[in-house]
Amino acid sequence: MSVFKLEYRAYEGRVTPRWWRVGVLVRYGLAEAWSSRVTVGLFTLAMLPVLVDLVVIYLANNSVARMMVTPGKTFPLTIDAKFFLRVLSVQCWLGLVLNAWVAPRLVSFDLADNALPILLSHPVSRFGYVLGKLLSLFAILSLVTWVPCLLLFAYQAYISPQAWLSANVQVGFGLVAGSLLWIALVSMIGLALSSWVKWRMVATGVVFAAVFVPAGVGGVITGILRTRWGFLLNIPVMMTELWQRLLGSPTVMKSDIDLPTGAIAAVLAAGVAVCVAMLNARIRAREVVRG
């Protein structure tokens, strides 16, 4: 039998705010993501179009350089909302590729390793855990979406006459807002699906499938029923429509699509809600055993 001396002293020092502790999980997430060479490769790949766009902006604004590159010809590009719509689209789709690789690394490993009981037996809630993973993804995807887009926009604003910036302020806001919407959507899809698929490579495939399979189904619905509403299952179409409107760009798609912004927002919100429900069901300290 123990003899209780009651000399044990619990820690009584100050503690940091709860939000601060999520930073540890963000650090874990970033370390996990960047520990893969594939992540570095995909990030490098995602930066290549930015370099090309940088050169294009430079040429478009520098008549001497333009004459050297295309002597005697008219330069085929103007830097406007449509140009930045293309930049945003390319970066966002490359961001999806990066997300499909990184998101499963953040969650699948923890689930496969049964690391959740260790993490959740700290004053970190399930929400805090998911928030940490989301912030990791947000940081990584930001590096290939709104940050380079905004830098290109800033460069264009810097080297062009001031009138250009005055006429295209909406483009700057659109680049950030469009990127943030995309990051929120794809990171939620990535984390939710990764939490249900323990095999990382399969999870990567499932993330792509979640984006493109409904688009195919929507296309079938549109074709058979001759209705534009089938496009509400088509994430690429919906996002392109949203990006166009956010940037104030002329339409680049068939005019008969023209989905209402409210309908697009409702479908995307519903998709995110499904992802939240999936995460809520799976991010637990214990697997629920059913007999």
Partner: protein
Amino acid sequence: MTTNDLILFEDVSKFYGEVLGVNRVSLSLPPGVTTLVGPNGSGKSTLMNLMTGLVQPSSGRISVLGMTPGDPNAFFREVGYCTQFDSFPRGLTGWEFVFDSLLLHGMSGMDAHRLASEALARLGLTDAAYRKIAGYSKGMRQKVRLAQAVAHHPRVLVLDEPLNGLDPMARAESLALFEELSRQGMHLVISSHILDEVDRISDRVVLITGGYLVAQGDIHAVRREVRDKPMQVLIRCDRPELLASRMFTLNHCVEARLHADGGGVFLRTTDIDEFYRLLNGIATEGLVNIEAVAPADDDTQAIYQYLIGSEGGAS
């Protein structure tokens, strides 16, 4: 002792869908070492998960030192948990694992540094602290999990199979640590299959099988309550045959077995009080020179066999 010093389970049930985790469990655990004993799948880990707030009860109420997991800041400051899973976030060194755990508990960098060093030294991992956990032996991984669980100075330590994978020396060190923490007034709740070793430091035992509480309390008291199993006593003496024949004159003595070395006898009795009274008489008569008397089956192992044994498929 107030509820602020106890771990309390009040009529707690936990169902995973249609699967029973634990059913209508009521417990009151004071400081000291409590051992959870039961076969695999009996509900030990569910009890521990309920205690640490990792799962919520389907019904009933749990409080740990007067707190519930509803306030995780205060709750997890007092509770340390060492899971049975040999798993860690990937790529970490032992130091990073313990240090980050302290940061997650809300310690400042300076305090976390001090406490991590202290915990790793306590578990004898100082030299290996900066190596990747992936390169640790199983015993070292077990130790670093223990270090993580004790590092923030909790008052309640919940340890799921903490001796698994440890070599005899490391087991002895861990048991000494548990004993020391228990003597200081800490609550330790331990599940283990290595019953004879845990037995040495346990203050009380909780036996559970199939999600139902079978018995709880001081090990000797629980043994006395198992009346349908005659108690076995080993008596070391110079004339074990004579002692056995004298004891058999009583109808509550049901079995006698000579010790292998011929220097003692195991006797089973259904009335232990009467047994000791008679033994005193024999000793006073001087016919038999009695050297030692010790209960031979009032340990956790024996209680487990009697109460759960064949039913639970003891492991």
